[in-house]
């Protein structure tokens, strides 16, 4: 009996019991589709998170006040001293302290209501320096960004995000208009290019003002020197870890801290952010893949069950085939092929369903689903293997039947 004949016989047997075979295949199909989708969702989320974090800018280190080494919250400065100040940012910008840092942009962020005519809109007002544009990888669509002189002179100028401009004026062509922020009039000198949302913060809904203006005009008081974040851009990706060392040492010296574990600031790299953000998704993906794998196991047991039924039902056929000269291995191979056809059918259909769902789901869930060729090929192979593995026992039982007993079976 050749392989083609065995395949043809197996296929005929599967088709003879259409409904039964379909239900068995369904068990495998669902498992395979689930595996492809969970792996795809995991990869897609990872891609999304990476894209979001790299939309902050490239080769970035992010310095935040407070220590993250405590599990019980943030280590603040003593008394009224703030832990991260404009002076820190300027020290980090020095080529002597940090030769591997290309540019520095401190950010002082407050949530304030902006008014234009009788419209008002509450958004994030970011006080920063002109380097911000490069470091955060942003561009100005209309008008200009403010200059270092304007920062020094505490000029009342503002660059709006496109979303903010639309909310206030209904258009992004707003250069020359006036916006009132905390009772002070600011002239709009530019509008940023759209960048899209990053996680839960909308990068397009922002108002950028010179850092000194933000400190004196908008905040004032004791926290005027404090900044909420300092973005450091390394010269290149290779210099990121050197820049990290230098920035940490500079800040430790500046703050008079000798023990690095007592640092009152935190330096994060983008990679660290990506891995923190994806760690959760990875756990979730592993969990979901585990559940999908379980459903494959159940599907495999379904194959075994149906194959055992098939062997029992066809005892006489097995007896006859043996009487006509089928050796045990031919019988075993025939039932293995049948189980393999069920598994492979489930695998191919499941892969097809997974691929289709991967096209539909992003529209419904808003997350990317990345279907990798390896995952598809892998799961089809796994489905075939499940069919074969769970077919071994029924096939062996069939092969072991004694021809006389099998022929006499009712």
């Amino acid at each position: 009996m050749t392989w083609t004949e065995t395949l043809r016989t197996g296929w005929a047997a599967v088709r003879t019991h259409g409904l039964r075979s379909t239900l068995t295949v369904l068990g495998i199909l669902i498992g395979i589709a689930a595996v492809i989708l969970t792996v795809g969702l995991g990869l897609g989320t990872q891609k999304d998170v990476s894209a979001q974090i790299s939309s902050l800018g490239s080769n970035l280190l992010i310095v935040k006040p407070g220590s993250s080494t405590d599990s019980s919250g943030v280590r603040g400065g003593f008394g009224t001293r703030t832990t991260l100040t404009r002076a820190d940012a300027e020290a980090l910008a020095s080529k002597v302290n940090t030769p591997d840092v290309a540019a520095v942009a401190p950010e002082k962020t407050t949530s304030v209501s902006l008014e234009a005519g009788d419209t008002n809109w509450t958004t994030q007002v970011v006080g920063t320096t002109p380097e911000w544009l490069d470091v955060r990888a942003r561009t100005v669509a209309n008008g200009t960004f403010f200059t270092a002189e304007q920062d020094e002179q505490r000029a009342n100028v503002v660059v709006l995000g496109p979303e903010t401009a639309k909310e206030l004026f209904g258009t992004t062509r707003v250069v020359g208009q006036t916006v009132t922020i905390s009772g002070h009039d600011f002239q709009v000198i530019g509008v940023l290019e759209s960048q899209g949302a990053s996680g839960d913060s909308d990068l397009d809904d922002v108002a950028v003002v010179p850092l000194s203006t933000a400190a004196d005009t908008l905040v004032g008081g004791q926290s005027r020197e404090a900044v909420s974040t300092v973005y450091l851009q390394a010269e290149s990706g290779d210099q990121l870890s050197a820049a990290y060392q230098e920035a940490t040492q500079t800040l430790l010296n500046l703050h008079g801290i000798t023990d690095a574990s007592a640092a009152d600031f935190t330096v994060n790299s983008q990679d660290a952010l990506v891995s923190t953000a994806t760690a959760v998704y990875k756990t979730l993906t592993v969990l979901l893949t585990g559940i999908a794998a379980l459903s494959l196991l159940v599907g495999g047991i379904g194959v075994m069950n149906i194959m055992l039924v098939s062997v029992t039902e066809r005892t006489r056929e097995i007896g006859l085939r043996k009487a006509l000269g089928a050796p045990p291995w031919a019988i075993r191979r025939q039932f293995l092929v049948e189980a393999g056809v069920l598994g492979l059918g489930g695998g191919v259909l499941g892969a097809a369903l997974g691929i289709v769902a991967a096209q539909v789901l992003p529209g419904l869930l808003g997350t990317s689903v990345v279907v990798s060729g390896a995952a598809v090929a892998g799961s089809v192979v796994v489905a075939l293997a499940i069919g074969l593995v769970f077919g071994v026992y029924p096939a062996t039982r069939a092969a072991r039947l004694a021809p006389i007993d099998a022929l006499r079976a009712e």
């Binding site: 004949e5 006509l324 000269g325 022929l407």
Partner: protein
């Protein structure tokens, strides 16, 4: 002198169920030459079925020796027995045992499939066998679309297709009406006339009388072995 098709010497077969032993054959000597048409008769429990299983290489011997067309089959394992069945023996069963999902042509091709005969040759031989039994116009019909007599003739075609040394028929008329029985038995007569070796197991006297020689089995022994008057 030519090699006999069947040569049984001192064949014993013991079945064991738990601690109980049952001796189904208690020393059978039987020699059947090529071209003979032999009927094996006996009441149920006589060891007739056991003898048939032994002759058909479906079961192994407990003691004694069995030479089938010159080959000692007493010592063979399961795989070699399957091969012997395929090459040497054509079975005809009481319940026909045709596979219902296959056409009569595919049913008849089955032994050749296991005998590694492929393609056009296999098809041609199967068609020839079906034509031989008068079913040349029923190649694509499934067993369900054939009458009982036609089904049994298809089964005979399947038994013949491998050109076996021995045609072994177990109650071939047991499930047939008189007309169909006659039909099948006439086919056996023709095959006998062409020189086939046929062993027919039956409990019906009139069926047995069609043969050339009758062997009676009782209590695991051959009790009578006589030629039938022509």
């Amino acid at each position: 002198m030519a090699e006999p098709v069947i040569d049984l010497a001192g064949v014993r077969k013991t079945y064991r169920t738990g601690s109980i032993e049952f001796e189904a054959l208690r020393g059978v000597d039987l020699r059947i030459d090529a071209g003979e048409y032999v009927a094996v008769m006996g009441p149920s429990g006589s060891g007739k079925s056991t003898l048939m299983n032994i002759l058909g290489c479906l079961d192994t011997l407990t003691a004694g020796s069995y030479r089938l067309a010159g080959e000692d089959v007493g010592e063979l394992d399961e795989i070699d027995l399957a091969d012997i069945r395929n090459r040497r023996i054509g079975f005809v069963f009481q319940q026909f045992h045709l596979l219902p999902s296959l056409s009569s042509l595919r049913n008849v091709e089955l032994p050749l499939m296991y005998g590694r005969v492929h393609g056009a040759e296999r098809r041609a031989r199967a068609i020839a066998a079906l034509e031989r039994v008068g079913l040349g116009d029923r190649l694509d019909n499934r067993p369900g679309e054939l009458s009982g007599g036609q089904q049994q003739r298809a089964a005979v075609a399947r038994a013949l297709v491998g050109e076996p040394a021995l045609l072994l028929a177990d109650e071939p008329t047991g499930n047939l009406d008189t007309a169909s029985s006659d039909d099948v038995l006439r086919l056996f007569d023709e095959l006998h006339a062409q020189g086939r070796t046929i062993v027919l197991i039956t409990h019906e006297r009139e069926v047995a009388e069609r043969a050339q020689r009758v062997v009676r089995v009782r209590d695991g022994l051959v009790v009578e072995d006589r030629a039938v008057a022509a």
